[in-house]
Protein backbone atom coordinates (compact mmCIF):
# COMPACT_ATOMS: atom_id res chain seq x y z
CA UNK A 1 0.00 0.00 0.00
CA UNK A 2 0.98 3.62 -0.45
CA UNK A 3 2.75 5.12 2.49
CA UNK A 4 3.05 8.66 1.28
CA UNK A 5 0.03 10.88 1.01
CA UNK A 6 1.53 13.27 -1.48
CA UNK A 7 4.87 14.03 -3.02
CA UNK A 8 6.30 17.07 -1.27
CA UNK A 9 8.78 17.88 -3.99
CA UNK A 10 10.26 16.17 -6.95
CA UNK A 11 13.82 16.00 -8.14
CA UNK A 12 14.87 14.39 -11.35
CA UNK A 13 17.18 11.50 -10.61
CA UNK A 14 17.27 9.95 -14.08
CA UNK A 15 18.64 11.77 -17.09
CA UNK A 16 20.02 10.92 -20.49
CA UNK A 17 23.76 10.78 -20.14
CA UNK A 18 24.39 13.97 -22.10
CA UNK A 19 22.10 15.99 -19.86
CA UNK A 20 23.10 17.41 -16.50
CA UNK A 21 20.88 16.60 -13.57
CA UNK A 22 20.16 18.77 -10.58
CA UNK A 23 21.90 17.23 -7.63
CA UNK A 24 23.40 18.01 -4.25
CA UNK A 25 27.08 17.42 -4.76
CA UNK A 26 28.69 18.83 -1.63
CA UNK A 27 29.60 16.47 1.16
CA UNK A 28 30.25 19.02 3.90
CA UNK A 29 28.58 22.26 4.73
CA UNK A 30 29.24 24.79 7.45
CA UNK A 31 26.25 26.13 9.29
CA UNK A 32 25.73 28.34 12.30
CA UNK A 33 23.63 26.38 14.68
CA UNK A 34 24.22 28.21 17.92
CA UNK A 35 23.00 31.56 19.15
CA UNK A 36 25.48 34.42 19.20
CA UNK A 37 26.29 34.10 22.94
CA UNK A 38 27.71 30.67 22.42
CA UNK A 39 28.66 31.00 18.86
CA UNK A 40 30.89 28.55 17.14
CA UNK A 41 30.86 26.90 13.82
CA UNK A 42 29.56 23.38 13.55
CA UNK A 43 30.32 21.02 10.75
CA UNK A 44 27.53 18.79 9.58
CA UNK A 45 27.92 16.05 7.06
CA UNK A 46 25.44 15.61 4.27
CA UNK A 47 25.22 12.39 2.30
CA UNK A 48 27.14 12.40 -0.91
CA UNK A 49 25.05 12.12 -4.02
CA UNK A 50 26.57 9.79 -6.53
CA UNK A 51 25.84 9.49 -10.16
CA UNK A 52 25.56 6.04 -11.68
CA UNK A 53 25.63 5.44 -15.37
CA UNK A 54 23.19 2.85 -16.64
CA UNK A 55 23.75 1.64 -20.15
CA UNK A 56 21.11 -0.12 -22.20
CA UNK A 57 21.84 -2.13 -25.30
CA UNK A 58 19.37 -1.17 -28.02
CA UNK A 59 19.83 -3.21 -31.17
CA UNK A 60 23.49 -3.47 -30.24
CA UNK A 61 23.92 0.26 -29.72
CA UNK A 62 24.37 1.76 -26.26
CA UNK A 63 21.84 4.17 -24.77
CA UNK A 64 23.05 5.58 -21.46
CA UNK A 65 21.25 7.19 -18.55
CA UNK A 66 22.55 8.62 -15.32
CA UNK A 67 20.96 7.98 -11.95
CA UNK A 68 21.71 10.16 -8.97
CA UNK A 69 21.34 8.78 -5.47
CA UNK A 70 23.04 8.79 -2.10
CA UNK A 71 23.34 5.03 -1.67
CA UNK A 72 24.94 4.22 -5.02
CA UNK A 73 22.24 1.65 -5.82
CA UNK A 74 19.41 1.57 -8.28
CA UNK A 75 15.93 1.11 -6.81
CA UNK A 76 14.46 -2.42 -6.87
CA UNK A 77 12.15 -1.70 -9.78
CA UNK A 78 14.83 -0.23 -12.03
CA UNK A 79 16.34 -3.53 -13.17
CA UNK A 80 13.14 -5.03 -14.61
CA UNK A 81 12.07 -1.68 -16.04
CA UNK A 82 15.40 -1.06 -17.74
CA UNK A 83 15.36 -4.61 -19.09
CA UNK A 84 11.87 -4.03 -20.47
CA UNK A 85 13.07 -0.81 -22.06
CA UNK A 86 16.06 -2.52 -23.61
CA UNK A 87 13.92 -5.37 -24.96
CA UNK A 88 11.18 -3.18 -26.39
CA UNK A 89 12.88 0.09 -27.39
CA UNK A 90 11.78 1.49 -30.73
CA UNK A 91 15.19 1.78 -32.30
CA UNK A 92 14.64 3.04 -35.82
CA UNK A 93 12.26 5.29 -37.71
CA UNK A 94 9.27 3.19 -38.68
CA UNK A 95 9.91 0.45 -36.11
CA UNK A 96 6.15 -0.26 -35.95
CA UNK A 97 5.86 -0.46 -39.78
CA UNK A 98 3.72 2.71 -39.69
CA UNK A 99 6.38 5.44 -39.52
CA UNK A 100 6.89 5.50 -35.76
CA UNK A 101 9.51 7.81 -34.30
CA UNK A 102 12.45 6.24 -32.44
CA UNK A 103 12.03 6.09 -28.69
CA UNK A 104 13.14 9.42 -27.22
CA UNK A 105 15.60 9.14 -24.27
CA UNK A 106 14.30 12.42 -22.84
CA UNK A 107 10.79 10.99 -22.62
CA UNK A 108 12.16 7.77 -21.16
CA UNK A 109 13.94 9.78 -18.46
CA UNK A 110 10.70 11.61 -17.73
CA UNK A 111 8.90 8.32 -17.18
CA UNK A 112 11.74 6.93 -15.03
CA UNK A 113 11.59 10.04 -12.85
CA UNK A 114 7.85 9.65 -12.43
CA UNK A 115 8.38 6.03 -11.41
CA UNK A 116 11.09 7.16 -8.98
CA UNK A 117 8.51 9.30 -7.24
CA UNK A 118 5.81 6.67 -7.15
CA UNK A 119 7.39 3.26 -6.67
CA UNK A 120 7.68 1.70 -3.24
CA UNK A 121 9.80 -1.35 -2.32
CA UNK A 122 6.84 -3.75 -2.43
CA UNK A 123 5.45 -2.55 -5.75
CA UNK A 124 5.46 -4.67 -8.90
CA UNK A 125 7.63 -3.24 -11.67
CA UNK A 126 5.65 -2.32 -14.78
CA UNK A 127 6.18 -3.38 -18.36
CA UNK A 128 7.37 -0.56 -20.61
CA UNK A 129 5.95 -0.16 -24.11
CA UNK A 130 7.14 2.34 -26.73
CA UNK A 131 4.71 4.75 -28.37
CA UNK A 132 4.77 5.71 -32.02
CA UNK A 133 5.51 9.37 -31.24
CA UNK A 134 8.75 8.52 -29.39
CA UNK A 135 7.08 8.39 -26.00
CA UNK A 136 6.73 5.46 -23.62
CA UNK A 137 4.13 4.01 -21.30
CA UNK A 138 4.43 1.94 -18.13
CA UNK A 139 1.71 -0.62 -17.64
CA UNK A 140 0.37 -3.03 -15.09
CA UNK A 141 -2.33 -5.58 -15.93
CA UNK A 142 -3.43 -7.64 -12.95
CA UNK A 143 -6.57 -9.79 -12.70
CA UNK A 144 -8.41 -7.84 -15.35
CA UNK A 145 -7.46 -4.44 -13.99
CA UNK A 146 -5.35 -2.09 -16.09
CA UNK A 147 -3.13 0.81 -15.04
CA UNK A 148 -1.03 2.81 -17.48
CA UNK A 149 1.26 5.81 -17.09
CA UNK A 150 1.66 7.50 -20.46
CA UNK A 151 4.48 9.88 -21.37
CA UNK A 152 3.78 11.00 -24.92
CA UNK A 153 5.71 13.48 -27.02
CA UNK A 154 3.07 16.12 -26.54
CA UNK A 155 1.09 17.09 -23.49
CA UNK A 156 1.52 16.26 -19.85
CA UNK A 157 2.00 12.71 -18.57
CA UNK A 158 -1.29 10.97 -17.92
CA UNK A 159 -2.56 7.87 -16.18
CA UNK A 160 -5.36 5.49 -17.08
CA UNK A 161 -7.04 3.01 -14.76
CA UNK A 162 -9.74 0.47 -15.56
CA UNK A 163 -11.40 -1.93 -13.18
CA UNK A 164 -14.25 -3.80 -14.87
CA UNK A 165 -15.34 -5.44 -11.61
CA UNK A 166 -15.95 -2.10 -9.98
CA UNK A 167 -17.12 -0.42 -13.16
CA UNK A 168 -14.39 2.15 -12.66
CA UNK A 169 -12.48 4.01 -15.36
CA UNK A 170 -10.18 6.99 -14.75
CA UNK A 171 -8.06 9.05 -17.11
CA UNK A 172 -6.26 12.21 -15.98
CA UNK A 173 -2.90 13.95 -15.77
CA UNK A 174 -0.49 12.43 -13.30
CA UNK A 175 0.84 15.63 -11.78
CA UNK A 176 -1.99 16.65 -9.49
CA UNK A 177 -2.82 13.00 -8.81
CA UNK A 178 0.45 11.48 -7.57
CA UNK A 179 -1.12 10.14 -4.39
CA UNK A 180 -3.97 8.52 -6.32
CA UNK A 181 -1.64 6.92 -8.88
CA UNK A 182 0.67 5.69 -6.14
CA UNK A 183 -2.27 4.10 -4.36
CA UNK A 184 -3.37 2.39 -7.57
CA UNK A 185 0.09 0.93 -8.15
CA UNK A 186 0.03 -0.29 -4.58
CA UNK A 187 -3.35 -1.93 -5.08
CA UNK A 188 -2.11 -3.78 -8.16
CA UNK A 189 1.10 -4.97 -6.50
Amino acid sequence: MATRAQAIYRTDVFAPQDQLVVTTSGSMQRADVFASRDRRAAVITLPVSQRLTVQLSVDGDPVAFTYTSVDNRLPHWAGPVLQSLSDRWGATVGWDSYGAQPTNPQLVAKLLNILSELMQPTYLPPQITPLADGGVQAEWHVLGRDLELVVAADGHPTYYYFDPGAGAEEEAEIDPNYARVQALIGDLS
Binding site: D87, R88, W89, G90, W95, D96, S97, Y98, Q127, T129, P130, L131, A132, D133, Q137, E139, H141, D146, E148, V150, A152, T158, Y160, F162, E169, E171
Partner: protein, 132 residues
Protein backbone atom coordinates in the same frame (compact mmCIF):
# COMPACT_ATOMS: atom_id res chain seq x y z
CA UNK B 1 -21.77 6.96 -34.82
CA UNK B 2 -19.13 9.53 -35.66
CA UNK B 3 -20.66 12.94 -36.35
CA UNK B 4 -17.45 14.25 -37.86
CA UNK B 5 -18.12 15.31 -41.48
CA UNK B 6 -14.85 13.67 -42.52
CA UNK B 7 -16.22 10.24 -41.61
CA UNK B 8 -16.70 8.08 -44.69
CA UNK B 9 -20.10 6.45 -44.38
CA UNK B 10 -19.31 4.03 -47.20
CA UNK B 11 -17.18 2.20 -44.62
CA UNK B 12 -19.86 0.16 -42.89
CA UNK B 13 -19.83 -0.18 -39.13
CA UNK B 14 -19.36 -3.94 -39.37
CA UNK B 15 -16.31 -3.48 -41.60
CA UNK B 16 -13.17 -4.78 -40.00
CA UNK B 17 -10.16 -2.49 -39.77
CA UNK B 18 -6.89 -4.41 -39.80
CA UNK B 19 -3.78 -3.29 -37.98
CA UNK B 20 -0.31 -4.79 -37.76
CA UNK B 21 1.11 -5.23 -34.25
CA UNK B 22 4.89 -5.32 -33.75
CA UNK B 23 6.36 -7.64 -31.09
CA UNK B 24 7.41 -4.78 -28.82
CA UNK B 25 3.82 -3.61 -28.42
CA UNK B 26 2.48 -6.94 -27.14
CA UNK B 27 1.61 -7.85 -23.57
CA UNK B 28 1.93 -11.44 -22.38
CA UNK B 29 -0.94 -12.71 -20.23
CA UNK B 30 -0.30 -15.13 -17.34
CA UNK B 31 -1.42 -18.08 -19.51
CA UNK B 32 1.22 -17.18 -22.10
CA UNK B 33 -1.18 -15.74 -24.65
CA UNK B 34 -0.36 -12.34 -26.04
CA UNK B 35 -2.49 -9.32 -26.76
CA UNK B 36 -1.88 -5.84 -28.12
CA UNK B 37 -1.11 -3.06 -25.69
CA UNK B 38 -3.04 0.18 -25.92
CA UNK B 39 0.02 1.75 -27.53
CA UNK B 40 -1.05 0.08 -30.78
CA UNK B 41 -4.14 2.27 -30.98
CA UNK B 42 -2.79 5.65 -29.84
CA UNK B 43 -1.77 7.15 -33.20
CA UNK B 44 -3.35 10.49 -34.06
CA UNK B 45 -3.66 9.14 -37.59
CA UNK B 46 -4.19 5.44 -36.99
CA UNK B 47 -3.36 3.53 -40.17
CA UNK B 48 -5.49 0.51 -40.95
CA UNK B 49 -6.39 -1.72 -43.85
CA UNK B 50 -10.11 -1.67 -44.60
CA UNK B 51 -11.08 -5.31 -45.04
CA UNK B 52 -14.01 -4.66 -47.40
CA UNK B 53 -11.65 -2.91 -49.81
CA UNK B 54 -9.25 -5.83 -49.63
CA UNK B 55 -12.13 -8.20 -50.43
CA UNK B 56 -13.05 -6.09 -53.45
CA UNK B 57 -9.42 -6.34 -54.50
CA UNK B 58 -9.49 -10.14 -54.06
CA UNK B 59 -6.95 -9.97 -51.27
CA UNK B 60 -6.94 -11.97 -48.07
CA UNK B 61 -6.62 -10.08 -44.77
CA UNK B 62 -3.25 -11.73 -44.18
CA UNK B 63 -1.95 -9.83 -47.18
CA UNK B 64 -1.60 -6.83 -44.84
CA UNK B 65 1.36 -8.63 -43.28
CA UNK B 66 3.27 -8.97 -46.53
CA UNK B 67 6.76 -7.68 -45.93
CA UNK B 68 6.36 -7.70 -42.14
CA UNK B 69 6.98 -11.29 -41.11
CA UNK B 70 7.54 -10.56 -37.42
CA UNK B 71 4.27 -8.73 -36.91
CA UNK B 72 0.85 -10.00 -35.91
CA UNK B 73 -2.45 -8.82 -37.37
CA UNK B 74 -5.47 -7.72 -35.42
CA UNK B 75 -8.91 -6.35 -36.25
CA UNK B 76 -11.31 -3.86 -34.73
CA UNK B 77 -14.57 -2.80 -36.32
CA UNK B 78 -15.53 0.57 -37.70
CA UNK B 79 -18.44 0.54 -35.28
CA UNK B 80 -16.06 0.12 -32.33
CA UNK B 81 -14.18 3.20 -33.50
CA UNK B 82 -17.23 5.33 -34.24
CA UNK B 83 -18.62 4.65 -30.78
CA UNK B 84 -15.89 7.02 -29.59
CA UNK B 85 -16.63 9.62 -32.25
CA UNK B 86 -13.48 9.20 -34.31
CA UNK B 87 -13.92 9.57 -38.08
CA UNK B 88 -12.66 6.91 -40.48
CA UNK B 89 -11.48 7.86 -43.95
CA UNK B 90 -10.07 6.06 -46.96
CA UNK B 91 -6.50 6.97 -47.83
CA UNK B 92 -5.87 4.99 -50.97
CA UNK B 93 -3.97 7.34 -53.22
CA UNK B 94 -0.65 5.90 -54.42
CA UNK B 95 1.81 5.05 -53.06
CA UNK B 96 -0.50 3.94 -50.25
CA UNK B 97 -1.96 0.48 -50.06
CA UNK B 98 -5.20 0.55 -52.11
CA UNK B 99 -7.09 -0.59 -49.01
CA UNK B 100 -5.48 1.92 -46.67
CA UNK B 101 -7.58 3.92 -44.25
CA UNK B 102 -7.09 6.25 -41.31
CA UNK B 103 -8.80 6.71 -37.99
CA UNK B 104 -8.38 10.42 -37.34
CA UNK B 105 -8.09 12.37 -34.11
CA UNK B 106 -6.02 12.48 -30.95
CA UNK B 107 -6.77 9.26 -29.15
CA UNK B 108 -7.67 8.98 -25.50
CA UNK B 109 -6.45 6.16 -23.30
CA UNK B 110 -10.08 5.18 -22.86
CA UNK B 111 -10.38 4.65 -26.61
CA UNK B 112 -7.06 2.83 -26.96
CA UNK B 113 -7.89 0.44 -24.13
CA UNK B 114 -11.41 -0.14 -25.42
CA UNK B 115 -9.86 -1.20 -28.73
CA UNK B 116 -7.61 -3.63 -26.85
CA UNK B 117 -10.68 -5.19 -25.26
CA UNK B 118 -12.58 -5.30 -28.57
CA UNK B 119 -9.83 -6.52 -30.87
CA UNK B 120 -9.80 -9.93 -32.51
CA UNK B 121 -6.67 -11.54 -33.83
CA UNK B 122 -6.48 -12.30 -37.54
CA UNK B 123 -2.94 -13.62 -37.23
CA UNK B 124 -2.13 -14.09 -33.57
CA UNK B 125 1.40 -14.02 -32.16
CA UNK B 126 2.80 -17.26 -30.84
CA UNK B 127 1.80 -18.19 -27.32
CA UNK B 128 4.62 -17.99 -24.83
CA UNK B 129 4.65 -21.53 -23.48
CA UNK B 130 7.63 -21.49 -21.20
CA UNK B 131 6.67 -18.85 -18.67
CA UNK B 132 8.19 -19.11 -15.25
Amino acid sequence: MANDPRDDSSILSEDRLLRRVPPNQLFTEPDGSQRPTSAVFRHDELSVNIESLMVEQHRRPEDALTGFPGDSLTAITAGDVRAFGYPIVKDIDPPNDPAHGLVLGKKTSSFANAMVRAHRWIVAPAKIEDLG
